[in-house]
Symmetry: C2
Subunit: 297 residues, 2 copies
């Protein structure tokens, strides 16, 4: 199995970025990634205000997928996530929903071993590995890896984890995907501004869905399709995601708008992925039985 | 077991409201409730603009709990929810997150039978019963039953269901609780502005926690304590709930602010209950093992 090292990364997802390598459809690869600070925080004496934020959330790639064209849907199956032996959680003035309560920044290094995070003595928690940044080349321009969007990017969605399938709209031939910013654990919202930030290796398989239509990334779990939507405010993101879901329900089930809207309200959950990035991200969780033919065109 | 009929209801939770009856601690009672429209919508020809909104979300009660005093915590264990044989879903211009797409209001009556909701032919879904409105007398003034707050009220939280335990701050002697507005099903967010609105009978047991401190309602499920927070915007509600949770984590685990803030971000989820009432409601979901002594004073 091919191994893509973390020595070539991007700081932006750009429409015209150059691939570092290519893969074929159905190929399984392992991609090594930095923690979101790019290794700059190597002890508890290095604080967030000390580091260069321009390279934050750098992603390994981009990787060109042979056989995927603009207008297709790129499918990425997450097979495995192996974590480095230590994670990082910083606090800093203004960071997260209660950041105004913080005066002095702090850095905490958390040992991660045998599937467990040592927060402190008697505070040991199981890892819940996830990928913070994953995306494809956008339709135009350039988006910093710290921000999410319709191309993916810093989605910080905890369901982007082992066993999930991800679907991205393909805006450029070859899709040009990249990933980074693993977390050993993070709650919905990422409320203090960080997860347990960590480097590692993700094993994934790439596939293509031809003839699909997708506005923004979707995560498939055992039970659900989760439609991700990123926007400036939670209200905007919820509205955007709701529109996408109602559109898919109407199309797939041949329903009028108001009937699809009722199903949305009765059976679908809006969940918050993160509220601490330049755009916030929500997901609308749709039970799979409502969309049995999605991505099976 | 005592049965409290739906013939005496309130439209407001008020500090000085008069009880319709009283119960003793540990008593189990069944409370009958109207659907949120108070039975005004009895066919698909009755539309939302036709009805009187002043009595919307009326709640059966208030019920005085003997032995509960101001400053205690009222515990309500939800044992059973029996639903009437039909639910209602309306749409109307401006209602819900995509209400601007609606011109003509519609009403849909949904048969509910043997634990299933018939949405239409080939669209049959299991019921997920929940209580929309449940609360106690507020500290002062009067709050319409259509609005949520620290006293409870229109919380529209789907985890307020069979098997859950609810905890309310007690602002007045006897707590004076009331409930109504059942839903046969509703997704997080209540995105079109309604669940499957329905009447029914809730069986519950009342208890008291002495010496507890609580700012706003908490729902206990099998795995979690969910701290509810209602406010004008999602951002405010999330901030308010986060403060409550960090305070409880600090107190119970003897942690400094920044350590409790990290646990919040690493292990707790923010979830949206509803975004369609006069105040929105979120819940911060805390794994039970983080607060093993909560309500066990």
């Amino acid at each position: 199995m091919r191994f893509i090292s973390k020595n070539r990364t991007i700081t932006h997802f750009s429409a015209n970025m150059e691939p570092i390598t290519d893969v074929r459809l159905q190929e399984t690869i392992t991609v090594e990634t930095h923690d979101c600070y790019g290794g700059q925080i190597d002890s508890e004496t290095v604080l967030r205000p000390d580091i260069n934020l321009e390279t934050m959330n750098q992603a390994t790639g981009p990787i060109y997928v042979n056989g995927v064209e603009k207008g297709d849907v790129l499918q990425i199956d997450i097979e495995e996530i192996e974590l480095d032996p230590r994670g990082i959680m910083v606090t800093s003035k203004g960071l997260g929903v209660l950041g105004d309560h913080i005066e002095e920044p702090t850095t905490k290094i958390l040992p991660v071993k045998e599937g467990r995070i040592c927060f402190k003595e008697d505070f040991i928690f199981p890892v819940r590995p996830m990928i913070g940044v994953i995306g494809v080349a956008p339709a135009s321009g350039s988006v910093h890896c710290a921000s999410p969007g319709d191309h993916g990017g810093n989605l910080d969605t905890k369901d982007i984890t082992i066993g999930s399938k991800l679907y991205f709209p393909v805006f450029q031939d070859g899709a040009l995907f990249a990933l980074g910013d693993l977390h050993a654990s993070m709650g919905d919202g990422e409320l203090d501004g960080t997860g347990v930030e960590i480097g590692g290796r993700t094993t994934l398989t790439v596939r293509a869905v031809k003839g699909g239509t997708l506005e923004a990334p979707v995560v498939e779990t055992a039970d659900s399709f989760m439609f991700l939507a990123s926007a400036k405010t939670l209200d905007e993101a919820i509205r955007k995601g709701s529109k996408h879901v109602v559109g898919h329900l109407q199309q797939e089930l041949s329903l009028e708008f108001q009937e699809a809207y009722r199903l949305l309200s009765m059976l679908c959950d809006v969940r918050i992925s993160q509220i601490v990035n330049p755009l916030v991200t929500v997901r609308i969780v749709v039970p799979k039985e409502l969309l049995p033919r999605l991505f099976k065109k």
